[in-house]
């Protein structure tokens, strides 16, 4: 057995982490032991998505280090900077005095933001934009000031300006060049971009050099070369990056004149045992400030470390991003630097669209292009760079290319360098049938996401239609079925399946149709044929437990309970011998009820003023709240009253999945509203609405959807949100997954919802509100309705031929003073079971 060699990686950023994973993937025999030394106190996170940290994405969600990535053969040391490389002894030394020997050393130290030598750039209130710590500091400052200025109108500068807007500041960008994003777009594209971002509330000062920053009363004053000045609360520098090459420099490695560790096409430095990758490396005379080339370098070094001969030649600098809702993309030779290149331009300044293609002088091949305002053709156009044109440039500009003739070599995902051939192989050989599985299998689409539409196209072309079919009985998905039922007015399962499906249904389509019928207001869910569609929980208006008994949860709106109510619930639990437990939704769960006991339990609860809490339904569950300004010394709004009002408005609303909501009376968020589908948090000026949160298997925080709403505005917006969800989500899709699916379909799901539900782009808002008004107006208690109906009551028996007999298989034992199911005989499920035939 050969001894393990030591690989030391300096830096745990996106590229350093990618290297570790790339080596691990290629090194199943564990020939390399890996030590990663990171200066930041946290493991690698997604800097591309950094801005989302300010709008609610958590540190954990940004994290890039998979569970189990570091094990016995690899180690991640955080919060320790490497201070010296001793090339003779082949060791590195850290700020904590640790000495780590290496056989191979990879420098992935990244870059630092460049702060121009402007007097005053080091004042309080001046920031850079690179790490989570930077964002925390900016957020703190933003809480006390009204405006912010970003110096630098490049890609990252606009991102930072966007962040300032999302923090509620008025924001400006100061750019030295005569246009925004000078590296990516040309003058024409820059002009459209400026107009669009100014429409969206961002002021842009172009052709402007900052000479000085001074502290003035309560803020900063920026003075410009033209003699003008601007007062602001904070300044963010985003004027480019500088490679962090100081370690290499001190160790005597070759560095470039303007910085950057010189590497060859293997990404090897002037010392053959030392490599450099990412933004600290100077490859082919240039420093790459994008993540995609960094990833490619990581792959090259991983390959070389394991005996391969991969090379980093020239990276694709294509970029696509969405800033303040404006699509901007550039690819290939965007500035027409190729000799005799021709530019074909389409500009619609009114519509805010600018498109340019750069082609060879005979218009036979595509060289590059710029897209502003509409970048839908980006993914397909980028893959065609260097290829013969499939159509005239004008047609390609206006209609976009067809992707059917995408060659296997064409690069689909530039961030992860995945070709069309690799995607096709994942579809055909690995059986990937949807975008999510392609992402998991190839990593394509996992960084910037701009190629996701192309992944869908490739799936469709490979004959793998995104199959919306609900089950073997219906070829359409839930959303389409909802529309069919709504428009045709069909109200029985038999009619619906006869006209739009086949067979007699199953445990998937029947509850789905039951839910649709209930959402459309079709009487009691156990009326007529509907009774046969319901899952056992809905059929018995209670939640089935592991031993076949049910639990009963009365509604406690907003979690507010009178002493009399509390006593009544306690008496019911005592008299029926039920196990009682407080739920996470601020109510009381009564467990262990047999089918024949349910009506008697409900009768007692209904008489005491309670009603069904719909704990059994794919429906609104609870609206959790804190005591709010009524009692709490920190509260700024009456969260309890609002929660009760919301719970009473939306109770009984059947939906594709359960709906949870919460209302907090101040930013301390004691009601945990952001873990709910609908979360409301009080602000000084009203209510902030968050949507799309959930706990469960994959926890998600709800994201801010609208701010400072009045009670009436809030209710209208929640009406629209919930009814649109009810109508268009897939079965068993919580709001978070629904918004994710909208993102796959429309770009940014939340922005899409904003367009539909706030700007009323589809003209459906009035209808959604009316539908919710109908729901609220027609609500009745499902328990009370059964108690009034002899026929329905007769179904609540354990045995049809012995209505009084309890199920003898249900047995309890006592634990901590209450019942619990007795553990029965071991469960037998296997080939030993006898098959009895008639």
């Amino acid at each position: 057995m050969t001894t393990q060699r030591q690989l030391v990686v300096v830096g745990n950023g996106m590229v350093g982490q990618r290297l570790v994973e790339a080596v691990r993937q290629r090194d199943p025999e564990r020939r390399w032991r890996i030590t990663v030394l990171g200066e930041e106190p946290r493991p690698a996170y997604d800097r591309v998505a950094l801005t989302s940290y300010l709008t609610g994405t958590t540190e954990a969600e940004l994290g890039l280090v998979p569970d189990g990535c570091y094990d016995g053969d690899s180690e991640l040391v955080l919060g320790e900077a490497v201070t010296r490389i001793d090339r003779d002894a082949r060791v590195v030394e850290t700020s904590a005095g640790r000495v780590v020997p290496y056989d191979a050393l990879v420098l992935a130290t990244g870059s630092r933001p460049f702060v121009p030598p402007v007097p005053g750039a080091d004042l309080d209130g001046c920031f850079v934009y690179r790490t989570i710590d930077d964002l925390d500091a900016i957020r703190d400052r933003a809480g006390h000031v009204a405006s912010g200025v970003v110096i630098g109108g490049g890609l990252l500068g606009l991102e930072a300006a966007n962040a300032l807007l999302s923090l509620g500041l008025s924001a400006s960008v100061v750019e030295f060049a005569p246009r925004l994003m000078p590296a990516q777009v040309d003058q024409g594209g820059g002009e459209v971009l400026r107009r669009k971002v100014e429409e969206l509330g961002l002021a842009a000062r172009l052709d402007t050099a900052t000479e000085r920053i001074a502290a003035v009363d309560g803020g900063l004053r920026m003075s410009f070369a033209d003699g003008s000045s601007l007062d602001t609360g904070l300044v963010v520098f985003s004027a480019g990056i500088r490679p962090r090459d100081e370690l290499a420099r001190a160790a005597g490695l070759a560095v470039g004149e303007r910085g950057g560790i010189v590497v060859d096409e293997a990404c090897r430095t002037s010392d053959p045992s030392i490599w450099a990758i990412g933004e600290c490396a100077l490859a082919g005379g240039r420093v790459y400030g994008l993540v995609a080339p960094g990833y490619e370098m990581a792959e090259v070094v991983a390959d070389r470390l394991l005996g391969g001969d991969a090379a980093f030649l020239e990276a694709d600098m294509s970029t696509k991003l969405k800033l303040l809702g404006v699509d901007v993309a550039s690819f290939g030779d965007a500035h027409a630097a190729t000799a005799d290149a021709l530019e074909v331009v389409y500009a619609d300044p009114v519509g805010g669209v600018y498109k340019k293609l750069v082609v060879t002088d005979d218009a036979s091949r595509l060289l590059g292009g710029v897209l502003v305002g509409d970048a839908s053709a980006y993914a397909a156009l980028r893959t065609m760079v260097g290829q013969p044109l499939t159509d005239t440039p004008e047609k390609l500009l206006l209609a976009g290319p067809s992707t059917s003739d995408l060659g296997d070599d064409a690069q689909v995902c530039s961030c992860q360098n995945v070709s069309a051939g690799a995607i096709r192989s994942a579809i055909h050989d690995e059986g990937c049938a949807d975008v999510a599985s392609i992402k998991a299998c190839t990593r394509a689409g996992t960084v910037c996401g701009s190629c996701v539409p192309l992944l869908k196209t490739l799936l469709t072309q490979s004959g793998v239609e995104a199959n919306p079919a609900l089950c073997e009985h219906f070829d359409v998905g839930r959303a389409e079925l909802f529309d069919i039922v709504r428009v045709t007015g069909l109200r029985t399962f038999s009619e619906i399946i006869a006209r739009h499906g086949r067979g007699r249904g199953c445990d998937i389509c029947k509850p789905a149709i039951a839910s649709i019928l209930a959402s459309l207001g079709s009487g009691h869910i156990l009326d007529g044929e509907q009774a046969a569609l319901q899952d056992t929980n809905d059929a018995f208006l209670a939640n089935i437990q592991r031993n076949g008994t049910y639990s009963v949860v009365p509604r406690v709106p907003g979690g507010e309970l009178t002493p009399e109510g509390l006593i009544a619930i306690g008496e019911v639990a005592r008299d029926f011998g039920l196990y009682s437990k407080i739920t996470g939704g601020q109510r009381i769960d009564l467990l262990g009820a047999r089918v024949e006991q349910l009506p008697a339990i409900w009768k007692r609860l209904v008489d005491a003023g309670f009603e069904s809490g719909h704990a059994y339904g794919k429906a609104l569950r609870t609206v959790k709240s804190c005591v709010g300004s009524t009692w709490c010394r920190y509260g700024v709004q009456d969260s309890t009253s609002l929660a009760i009002m919301l719970e009473l408005r939306y109770r009984g609303l059947r939906a594709p999945h359960k709906i949870k909501a919460g209302v907090s009376g101040c930013a301390r968020e004691c009601a945990e509203a952001r873990s709910k589908d609908v979360g409301v948090i009080a602000s000084e000026n009203g209510w902030n609405l968050y949507v799309g949160g959930n706990g469960g298997f994959r926890p998600r925080h709800a994201e801010l959807f609208a701010s400072d709403l009045s009670d009436a505005e809030l209710v209208r917006l929640v009406d629209r949100f919930l009814m649109f969800y009810v109508r268009t989500a897939d079965r068993l899709q919580r709001t978070a997954a629904w918004i994710e699916a909208l993102t796959e379909e429309h770009g940014d799901g939340l922005a899409y919802l904003h367009r539909v539900l706030v700007e009323d782009e589809l003209g459906v808002c009035a209808d959604l509100e009316a539908a919710m008004d109908r729901h609220a107006g027609s609500y009745t208690d499902e328990w009370a309705a059964v108690l009034d109906d002899e026929e329905k009551l007769s179904r609540f028996v354990s045995f049809v031929n012995a209505p009084e007999a309890p199920d003898p298989s249900i047995r309890f034992v006592t634990e901590r003073g209450q019942i619990r199911p007795a553990d029965g005989a071991p469960v037998v499920a296997g080939p030993t079971l006898e098959v009895v035939r008639r």
Binding site: E472, H473, S494, G503, R504, G505, C506, D507, C509, K510, P511, E529, A531, A532, L533, Q534, D535, T536, A539, F540, I544, R546, N547, G548, S794, R795, S798, F799, V800, N801, A802, A805, D807, S809, G824, A825, V827, V828, A829, G830, P831, L833, E834, V835, V836, R837, R838
Partner: protein, 113 residues
């Protein structure tokens, strides 16, 4: 020649008591039997015990079809059983007992061996 019918038939309930595409449970000679009425009026009877969860709940499952086979899905973990043979269609090798069931004079009768 005469074949004696030695099976013991037990009257369970009136046929009208059964809802189309739902089940009921009955106690027959100490056994729990799940009886289902499909949309066309046909009757099927299985053991009520779900072999996967060991709970007596199959009568409360959703009745439907898979291909041409009438089925019930366990309400506990949704495994689908054939109403005709009792076999689990999701887990080959697992099955529940099936019983004979008929309608006589409007009464539903089950035979448990």
């Amino acid at each position: 020649m005469t074949v004696l019918d030695v099976r013991a038939w037990t009257v369970v309930c009136r046929f009208d008591r059964l809802l189309p595409e739902r089940g009921v449970a009955a106690l027959v000679g100490g056994e729990q039997v799940a009886i289902f009425r499909t949309h066309d009026g046909a009757l099927f009877a299985l053991a009520n015990r779900d072999p996967f969860s060991d709970a007596y709940v199959l009568s409360r499952g959703i009745v439907g079809s898979r291909g041409a086979v009438p089925t019930v899905a366990s309400p506990m973990h949704k495994q689908v059983f054939s109403l005709v043979t009792g076999e689990c269609l999701d887990e080959p090798g697992v099955a529940v007992p099936v019983y004979e069931v008929r309608v006589r004079d409007g009464d539903v009768e089950v035979a448990v061996p």
